[in-house]
Symmetry: C4
Subunit: 279 residues, 4 copies
């Protein structure tokens, strides 16, 4: 009984608006502390920051323990993706720090605590959710783009390696160079260099730019359509209002009207028969 009551108490704390506000504040404060560490601060300040960091770690640990304990069953907590997300971020910052190398690692792990803002603010969770849902459709476009990059990189590597091995040394360096061309970053310098030996190599660059631009455009359209359809369907399902819902309503009622007209017609036919028969 005492355990049950404690759980209820913990759930109350967890669902409290003020507690939520405190969590958000601590996350932002934690981000600022992380930011402060990148400045050249005196050793006293560095000590304060280290202490603050530890306090934040402890706070996050307590918060996650409260949320863990407030669940009816222990493992229910891990059924929600965002809970696992929070758990990993919090436990990652508990890793012991001793050598110089791990200091950097520990620092990097602590940066990701800012990501907890996403799991706390519902609107951001929706945004990330939409991005994740759009992933599968994007996957194939990324694959197609990768194939285009791979072919052009292989061609570039075979043709231009002797001209500039820094840019076209092997297929992976070539892909990086092509990504640079796709972002239009000093791409003419790359082109003019190879055009000195192969005057027609502008075809290579222009066709590549056209292909990546086309594929990227289609990518964008794919996402737009996907998000639009999903949003539309959701609106339709939730509200029951709007044109789609009204059309559906009309369809169902047209069916009912047809059945009614069926009955009316048969009644009338009967009526006519009755009128005719007895005479």
């Amino acid at each position: 009984m005492a355990v049950e009551q404690l759980k209820l108490q913990l759930l109350k704390i967890h669902q409290n608006k003020i507690f939520e506000f405190i969590v958000i504040s601590i996350i932002i404060f934690s981000a600022l502390v992380t930011g402060a560490k990148t400045y050249d601060i005196g050793s006293t300040m560095a000590n304060v920051v280290a202490w603050l960091d530890m306090l934040i770690t402890v706070f996050f640990l307590i918060e996650i323990l409260i949320r863990l304990s407030s669940e009816p069953r222990f493992f229910d907590f891990f059924k929600k993706g965002w809970n696992i997300f929070d758990f990993i971020i919090v436990t990652a910052s508990l890793l012991p720090v001793d050598g110089n190398d791990t200091v950097l690692l520990a620092r990097l792990l602590r940066i990701f605590r800012v990501l907890r803002l996403v799991s706390v603010i519902p609107e951001l969770r929706i945004l990330i959710g939409a991005l994740i849902k759009a992933m599968p459709r994007m996957g194939y476009i990324v694959l197609l783009m990768f194939i285009i990059f791979y072919i052009y990189a292989a061609i570039g590597s075979f043709m231009f390696e002797n001209i500039n091995p820094v840019l076209w040394g092997n297929i992976s360096i070539s892909m990086l160079t092509l990504f640079r061309v796709a972002t239009f970053e000093d791409w003419t310098d790359v082109m003019y260099e190879t055009m000195a030996e192969y005057p027609l190599s502008w075809i290579f660059y222009l066709s590549f730019i056209f292909l990546t631009a086309f594929v990227f455009l289609n990518m964008m359209i794919g996402v737009i359509l996907d998000v639009m359809q999903r949003e539309h369907e959701e609106y339709y399902r939730e509200s029951g209002e709007g044109e789609s819902a009204e059309v559906h309503w009309i369809k169902e009622h047209t069916e009912q009207m047809e059945q009614r007209l069926d009955r009316i017609e048969s009644l009338l036919l009967e009526n006519v028969k009755q009128n005719v028969a007895p005479k």
Copy 2:
């Protein structure tokens, strides 16, 4: 009574098309005067410009006073956002100028008089209104983008500070560098520098470019959908025409037809009964 008549007179002036045209002309002229001040002009010209500037200030003051006085009640004027906007812009250019520092400030304040074009031309007011309405939805996307920037800036600052403190000195400098990378401005120079020490740091840059491009894309789609839905709903509400309105009309009339069919059926049933009963 005299006050009432004066107010009516002022309202007439204020709503006069010619007066409106004069106001627009003066605003454009004021913009040109502001522009003229940026050229190296002789002292005689500078004097003329200063006189013109004062005349424009006086004109704007009179115009705002006319509009203020023509309101039935004094404070009604401040109920419209655009009136407050105009009032602040006009009064700001009344600030006294004495030292050299305030000259610059006064000049800057006078530049914003061009913005009065927005409050005078209705089409621009609608455009700005649409932008303001789209803000809340954009807010969360900007926040998400900021989180991404913050995390990458922190990582960059920890990892690359020793390589180039000018670009990665602290978290704010790093964020500026990352914004530069997001606009593709000489981003490969930044990348090649860090790749000399960390050969795998291209993952850092490419993942950042993908994330910002994705979020930015979603941002665009969000705005497109928002504006589309709003425009559509407005059109639907205002015109009463179009597909949506017709579907709504059909729905309502289908309901009426059903009621009518109800009545017809009951009439027929009664009819049948009557035909059957008396015999």
Copy 3:
């Protein structure tokens, strides 16, 4: 009669598919001749090109005279925008050439003959038509963008003139510099220069980039919506098929059904009365 017959003959030539094909070929050939002039060609070749150019001019003159004469009334020709467009382009290349300066002018005027492709190929005419229709809506967005540019240019000119007069010398130079910043072309170089004196000037650049990006985005959306609605309406008007047309059909027929149900109900009521009354 002879004139009438000649006109008919000319109309036949003008509407002939082969004639149209010849016109397109001559336009493309004319473009190639124009292109050839930009190469360093020998004097014999230059003579040939000059002769070809004259022949093309004569051909275009004859073609326009045929089209002019084939019209029932002389001035009907000038009622279509594209005819005026063709007439101006053809007559412009008739200007006499004597001095060295006019050679350049004559050459430039002859380049625009390539534009006749647009007036000859219907699909291109539609594309240009769509662009022209979208102009008014774009006008206000361009105006808003211009205001933003003007204000930032004035601020930039007042603040940064002493730092770099080549970039910020006066308001027109500043606007060009800002356009460069808007295209992300070496914009960080511009920013870092002013940040040396005003460390907070990054706010100036970042806010400018955000504003222009936002306005530009809205611009795009405006055009998209405009073109979409127009295309949709046109499709609706022309085909009579599709959802909109069907909904409209249903609406009209629902009205007819209601009138019919009205008649049925009144017939039934009469029937009931008749059944009741005589008994």
Copy 4:
């Protein structure tokens, strides 16, 4: 009979999921082998790679022979575009290699084997299909863009040739320079150079950027609309669900209801006559 049975056997192999998986694996492995060739590998490794390459070639040859033989009629295989695509890619890599020049050619031909991924994975085939369908509409926009480029290149070549023949030497070099300007790559360097002689030449560049941006925007919208309409129509045709299908359903049933009401009305009229007549 034996041939028939063999064909059936081959068809079974060809449609086997495991066989498909092996084909995809071999294609990816082939891509990796191609990539490996771009690295500086020892002669032993080069030998291994050459052997692997030959094995892959043989595998692809066998695979295409299986698919060819499994067809009921020999030439049915060449009726599908993707089969021809596969056939060309596979046979191209069979070309004999002897001299040094053909080594490069053979290598290039082998790169395209990665493209077989597109013909094997259905989702990529759909993507490419959509791109090909969007081509005709894009064609005219590309033509319009080409005309704009051509006119500006001719003007640029006539005006700026003396300033910088490397950038404006003839019309084809000028077009490449303009493409560079359209991608915003160091375009201000190009502009500032010509502005030194012609101070108004910024009009040339800015108008060009506006035109290409406008045309490109329309291009994008064209593709978006095209893809949207096609996707929508396909969905409509396939599923029979959704708003469009429901509206169509309602239309058809409204027609039926009208016919039924026709019958009811005539029955009633008859009824009334019968009631009236005998009395």
